[in-house]
């Protein structure tokens, strides 16, 4: 069973929900795919057992073979390779790794070199529980390769929870790809509702099964509940905002260790989404 937790709007509580739900379960694997700003590791203090580089390729032009014909530059849709009169300029950050330039080069002057775009970290949280997260290097333009690496390393996990990045762009699609069920973590504010609608549109287009957890349910208004009813979307749980919760999370502590209320909420979500088998 693979469960993705996502939100559209940032700061609704994706990571709070992910790390607490994961900690509530007695086994499983969690991956933090918000590689631009990963936070799960701040709450799950496991033992770091391995780290791996995630690489992307960029073209290298052999000046001895290059005839400055300009075909690579003409082909490239990303302005990543620009042939000047006596030098071919390569812009590593713009390179998309499509392989087109070497394909069109008539003299085989283009080969590829590797560049690190970020890392993935493996953490053993407890005997049956593994946590992996990725971190995109500052200045790199896309975390998709790191997300794909995280997904690939965990594709055979029996129980996988995926903490997704905010938004509805390509990185989110890549994070939720292959999930059996998605939990939208929403807020009852007009911003939360508007962003959630975009997520619903995305999940429907991807034919995903999903339900909604409304976090900070006492902040905002009732519109979100009307929307869920009209759209026949399952409301999995409502979790209230409490200054004490905010204070505990601010310190990097897990709420299930401090609040029976919160623990009960996690139990309900686990029961609804996973069935009795994973209940503690």
């Amino acid at each position: 069973m693979k469960i993705a937790i996502l939100s559209g709007k940032g700061g609704t509580g994706k990571t709070t929900l992910s790390v607490n739900l994961f900690s509530f379960l007695n086994k499983g694997t969690l991956i933090d795919t918000d590689v631009e700003e990963p936070n799960g590791h701040l709450f799950l203090k496991g033992e770091l057992i391995k780290e791996e580089s995630v690489l992307k390729k960029y073209p290298h032009v052999n000046d001895d073979l290059c005839t400055y014909c300009g075909k690579c530059g003409d082909f490239c849709n990303f302005n990543a390779i620009i042939p000047a009169k006596k030098k071919v300029l390569v812009f590593q950050d713009l390179y998309h790794d499509c392989g087109g330039c070497s394909l069109v080069c008539p003299t085989n002057a283009i080969t590829y070199q590797d560049k690190e775009v970020g890392k993935i970290y493996y953490t053993q949280v407890s005997k049956n529980k593994l946590f992996l997260y990725g971190n995109l290097t500052v200045g790199e333009v896309s975390g998709v390769k790191i997300i794909e690496a995280l997904k690939e390393k965990t594709e055979n996990e029996e129980l996988l929870i995926i903490d997704s990045p905010p938004g509805t762009s390509c990185s989110t699609v890549s994070a939720i790809d292959g999930a059996d069920y998605c939990i939208i973590c929403a807020e009852a504010t007009p911003f939360g509702l508007s962003d959630m609608k975009m997520v619903v549109e995305l999940l429907r287009a991807e034919n995903q099964n999903f339900g909604v957890v409304v976090n900070k349910s006492n902040l905002g208004n009732d519109e979100i509940y009307h929307y869920l009813e009209e759209e026949h979307i399952e409301l999995l749980e409502k979790i209230k905002f409490d200054r004490e919760f905010a204070r505990i999370m601010a310190q990097g502590e897990l709420l299930i260790n401090h609040s029976e209320y919160f623990k009960e909420k996690m139990a309900n979500i686990a029961r609804k989404v996973l069935g009795e088998s994973y209940d503690q």
Binding site: E37, M198, L202, L219
Partner: protein
Amino acid sequence: MINEIVIISGKGGTGKTSITASIIPFFENLVLADCDVDAPDLNILIKGEIVEERDFIGFQRPVIDYDKCTYCGKCYHSCNFNAIREDIVINTSACEGCKVCEYVCPVNAITMHDAVIGKIYHRKTIFGPMIDARLNPGEESSGKLVAEVRKLARDVAYKENRDTIIIDGSPGIACNVISAITGVSKAIIVTEPTISGLHDLKKVVHLVKMFSVEAKVIINKYDLSLEKAEEIKNYLSLMEIEVVLELPFDLAVVNSISNLQIPSTTDIAFFSTKEWFDFIEYLRN
């Protein structure tokens, strides 16, 4: 020169849009740009009317002519993005438009066609013109769409002789954020006093330094953890970045947003303090 101010955060949900909206009524001659193209919320409070709406073509995508296709599999094997399945069907959301498939196809069964990846809106608001956009769910190239929004905002500013552009950015540090901050006059980073807020702030500070953008920080909801707020201030003083404002957590802010009102136009006391006006003054100059 146009004063371009961007509001970003690293971490999502720290209050970027609420603060952006609160700044806006204090400027007289501005253009608004919502660059959070996969969660555009500024207009919910600003309530602008659409004057013009147009498709944004991000790149070209392949279309397969199955009458010509021989299912040789060359396109499938050549695609580095897993955007063509083994049964020669295109997975649109994975395609980056490189046209390698078109190039390798031996029977010219693949042609490239314009792909609409989002919509751009030109709005009229009571505060001035606004440009915002919406990326179609699942699309990439949000960096390109952000660049287009900024370009259109600058065009309007020049045409109408407006001196300020206020840009609402998106969370994260990738292409869409890089695109929103390059070449701006000032960046305001909105953070919150949590372990996640501090962690994410560090990455976004690294980013603004890398792109040589002048940045100052707002600690929003600072009283939710005075201890973490202190930690953030210590970190920023090491980085020689000024904390320009500390805002308390106030339910009245949440309520004003729930009522679709800009927080600074309600009777919340903070927005008539000297600190707030000093901050606005800083943004103006």
